[in-house]
Subunit: 389 residues, 4 copies
Amino acid sequence: MTADARARTGLWLVGARGSVGTTAALGLVALAAGHAGAAGCVTASPAFAGLPLPGWGDLVVGGHDVSDVSLAKRAEALVDAGMIPAPLLAATAHALDVADAEVRPGHRGPLVPGGSQQQVAERLAEDITAFAARHGLARVVVVDVSSTEPPAHPSAAHDDPAALAAAVREPGRVVLPPSSVAAYGAVLAGAAYAGFTPSAGMGLPALQALAAEAGVPVAGQDGKTGQTWLRTVLAPAFADRGLRVLSWAGTNLLGGGDGATLADPEAVRSKLASKTRGLRDLTGSDVTPLHIDHVPDLGDVKVAWDHVHAEGFLGSRITLQTTWSAYDSMLAAPMVLDLARLLALAHAGGVAGVVPELGFFFKDPWGSDRHAAADQADDLVRWAQGLAA
Amino acid sequence: MTADARARTGLWLVGARGSVGTTAALGLVALAAGHAGAAGCVTASPAFAGLPLPGWGDLVVGGHDVSDVSLAKRAEALVDAGMIPAPLLAATAHALDVADAEVRPGHRGPLVPGGSQQQVAERLAEDITAFAARHGLARVVVVDVSSTEPPAHPSAAHDDPAALAAAVREPGRVVLPPSSVAAYGAVLAGAAYAGFTPSAGMGLPALQALAAEAGVPVAGQDGKTGQTWLRTVLAPAFADRGLRVLSWAGTNLLGGGDGATLADPEAVRSKLASKTRGLRDLTGSDVTPLHIDHVPDLGDVKVAWDHVHAEGFLGSRITLQTTWSAYDSMLAAPMVLDLARLLALAHAGGVAGVVPELGFFFKDPWGSDRHAAADQADDLVRWAQGLAA
Amino acid sequence: MTADARARTGLWLVGARGSVGTTAALGLVALAAGHAGAAGCVTASPAFAGLPLPGWGDLVVGGHDVSDVSLAKRAEALVDAGMIPAPLLAATAHALDVADAEVRPGHRGPLVPGGSQQQVAERLAEDITAFAARHGLARVVVVDVSSTEPPAHPSAAHDDPAALAAAVREPGRVVLPPSSVAAYGAVLAGAAYAGFTPSAGMGLPALQALAAEAGVPVAGQDGKTGQTWLRTVLAPAFADRGLRVLSWAGTNLLGGGDGATLADPEAVRSKLASKTRGLRDLTGSDVTPLHIDHVPDLGDVKVAWDHVHAEGFLGSRITLQTTWSAYDSMLAAPMVLDLARLLALAHAGGVAGVVPELGFFFKDPWGSDRHAAADQADDLVRWAQGLAA
Amino acid sequence: MTADARARTGLWLVGARGSVGTTAALGLVALAAGHAGAAGCVTASPAFAGLPLPGWGDLVVGGHDVSDVSLAKRAEALVDAGMIPAPLLAATAHALDVADAEVRPGHRGPLVPGGSQQQVAERLAEDITAFAARHGLARVVVVDVSSTEPPAHPSAAHDDPAALAAAVREPGRVVLPPSSVAAYGAVLAGAAYAGFTPSAGMGLPALQALAAEAGVPVAGQDGKTGQTWLRTVLAPAFADRGLRVLSWAGTNLLGGGDGATLADPEAVRSKLASKTRGLRDLTGSDVTPLHIDHVPDLGDVKVAWDHVHAEGFLGSRITLQTTWSAYDSMLAAPMVLDLARLLALAHAGGVAGVVPELGFFFKDPWGSDRHAAADQADDLVRWAQGLAA
């Protein structure tokens, strides 16, 4: 069967009004209207030309958020921070308001009083199905772009679909962290899903099994946008040269809301773990100290410094330093749009459960132990072309 | 036919007593005797395990040089410069002297008085064949690691094998630059050849045709050791992400003999051209200012700074800076050994003429327009495994 | 006598509509109206509090320019380049138009047909005196912020005031480069003068002597805004520690108009010379390779990389790398305002001729061989406080 | 009175066999014998020429250490690490053994069983006075170069000399941390003292008062060798320009014994506090995240990255990044020799108690709130010249 995803498709953002969600929503409007080029979108590069993906104009944005600051309001803050040009907001403000009208309240606590997590997830799923019906969508892709949660409390039910299905139905029982309730809601709504944050989300094996049963493709986890991407570009290259990495030390400086969240040592734990896992695999070194510092005056800019120390011929030493500086949301947003298009293609092609070939987009790819960016890029292109062929 | 190159093999270095030649010769002794590991050698990485390459102990070093400073003497200078550990020289000094006894005088001028370039090349070829006979070698691989020449004067004979064969026989006529006379000598000796410098060498189409006729495999050109390698790792990764490189500016600082040679604006022209060619192909940008500065106090260390400016989503800007610092000869020497082993394999497998799959090792690969390091690494492994299968 | 410069003062900008001129004019309006703080202004720091300098509201802007693109139009381009916030231009646009009305055509060629350079200078001086009269100014400070000229043709008259006074009166004789005609015009108008570019300007000894005779204070040359300032901060510190600088290599990347001008190898010669002179004095090293590259996509941002290699105890080596990134006009503009205030104070205090204590502001200070930034800062404060005491 | 310190002087190193102690001892031998120049020694710079300081040959090394690995053995490890050239060790090995014979066992625990801290200190003092007698020394300077201790437990006796004198005499009472017992021993021996580590040492006010009473000059604390020195060079320069530092983030990578010690979060607390204190004073910013990572493969090299974000004119932003790389012990050792010479001068000049003018050498200067390196350099020179005049 040949997949064809050229159809109206929903992009449902969990955390729609955050920095990444706002940038994705605004950017989509700008692309559809021709106000901006598609730089940063993988699916706009030549290798994807001609594939039957939904067009920019086919994507309809909705989502959940606990914030009631509107997309346009949030975008204004990003204009003030120098990230988004003022004329671009002016040109897209109306369409942003239309998208904002499709944002529904997220669930704050893990439960409704006296109820079960099943009930919460069903309420979320209803928002998604109503959205699909309202807009006559062929399918919906849910992307979690909300803030990082602390690591989830372990539970045996996380590994067993049947046990999980039972546990979420127990009134008053909290077996899933909030991000996983949202992921479960996507499954109930029959929506494809991508986990762009390090939060548990659909990362629990039991949820992935339920997604496979429900026939929805899912991918994750934790968007590989900047420093980690760069590391997975460089580390395999050292290996290809036979150069042995001795240590890889790094620091991230970031302001913005993400910086504040990650200043919390609990929340940062998930992040640091997923950031160094691939690197250790690729280099074999476990000397990989890494820090994330909240530097509010940087606004939405993220600066990452890395120091690589490697051994070359006859014990000689090599050092490589890199400094990367970018608006992190500007790196993430086009990847979110790419995931919407590619998961739509997967769904159209009948792919169900974890899609390892989407590992290119993630720090901690589900269903794959490939971290090398060039290999992942090859896999991705081959997979997409294969589905469409 | 299955190639098998496990046999005594000559490694004939043009410029044997230079920094790269000395490091390669010393390193080979150290590897063969187990005094050092093979970090930096591509052919020692897992992908090449089990291939029928000559072992370190199978490689015998000889060469040409215009200098009469011995290998051991040159190595002492590298010890003083902090590049080679003193105990390693102590352990290898005797074997270095043995190798040095196989170094013959290179030709200084382009001609012998009253003679032809054919005569010069034949004299060089005789040195190689005598070396092979003396040591009972299955084959010889010539690698040019001499200093960079100024660009060669163009001649129609460079493109036409018959015309070239005639021209070199005219007494008193200088149609080939010195590096190409050496390359021609390799062809006459039936030796495989790698051009590790930007000098013309075997880069002239007529010489490559003669090599193909003679049944010898050749590869080049200009070893991709440090900054250029890093660029061909990074630039394709930007493209894979859909990020548009706007400019890529760089500076190299180096001391040592190479630095002094490249302080000559004539000599540096060849180098700068081959360094930016691949980058422009890979990025589409022609804003690629690049400098090479002679900084004698750095000794054999080379420091390279790059500043990449790219456009991301919605016109946002990304900057990446890299600083690379390494002993350049320590990067080059193991690649020279790799080329000896792999060209021996090619020769054993009956490969004649230009070998595009060896492009991984070169800034300006002959017979190939692939510059992306990851793609080149894949090609190389596939090719070597294919030859051996 | 105690200087008191609290009075209406003209700031006459040669090259008023360039990037620095526009930023200075707009910034002055913003400061006077309280739309912006005075970060970057030396005279706003605590050491200068209470000195009888003209207030921001006392400074009236006029100038010469060969361009007829208005200040407001130029400022729009700087808004588009992300350098000036749009709301700030909106708040200052009217006042900018008022300033722009005081910009008179600069002289393009060195001469009027059939006339002398004296006549050209007198015409320029008349523009200045008319401006002073129109606004009831106590004094005028001329600051040259125009594009860099190629080095001036040497002439014996440049060293001899009498010879120069005669030469400029010869019809058809071109003895002064354009920037020096403008400087001579300032002398004729009795205006103080600062040379913020590397062009000859008032740098000719004969002109400085004429300025001293005319009783006007003058200072220069070539604003020490970014990389050179940083070097004169760091180099003395190495010396204070007894660390011996072996080499100091650097590269500048810049877009904007200045970048285009300096892409001209002739023009860049003046610049590079003044940039390395102080460094060589401070370090004793003459290994100071330096490049300026035009990278248009950087817009008005300037990025400077430096690599310092030093010798420490027992021959050990130290490396320091610095990367500086800033809008160069944003560094220059507040220094132009500082010079206006401080030269007004000097004039009020009866200082005539070269003012060495203003060396803090310049790469190539007139009348001083002090380059160390901390020493210059001390000298400046002491001098200003002394004048006012 | 005119100080004259040209006399045999003891340099008693607490932690003599550590990396800094060994480097200082070996370096002193090399300087005295003319095997090496005095780069890195402040007192060898022109400003100190002609002052009546002890010559290199006048300094005699002894010390305490808990390690029994000899100086020569320790130096071998530094040769292997590439820090000390092998020929230099060969030339100094005999003299190092002579110095090593003057190293006495340090006290490990805070007490001898059943005894008092007074007794411990007296034992240490006896070692020093016997050393002075044995060599006919005019005076002894004690410099603490031992590993960093965890922060000391507070005690009221630390602020009151009489209370302290009583407390140390109570059998079984531990009122002083080990570094302070050593400092007290110096006072009892009538020796001058410098605290080159962040450990409490002579930093307790009660000890400083006892030193003043005993007529010995003391200075500290925590040698300002690399990154912190660089920060105190740069931060005042930003202020002199009116540029407002918004944040100053940094990371240190270091291997060696110091790196291992500082990998202990308790020990690192003292260090990080003294590293950021001066910076906050100088910039007014409290966004100064800083990390120290143990990267064993770096050996004795220390790499420090800083990212400075500042506000310039009209709210524009400036970034400065610095990367500093050096053998930290090679920076520290010459400062230890400088302190020996200068404290000898102070002692000869009758200076007693804290010497604020030696703040140049310290991250956390006693008796001074000046942190700006250039100001400290001026103070130092003026003070030394004044004492000698």
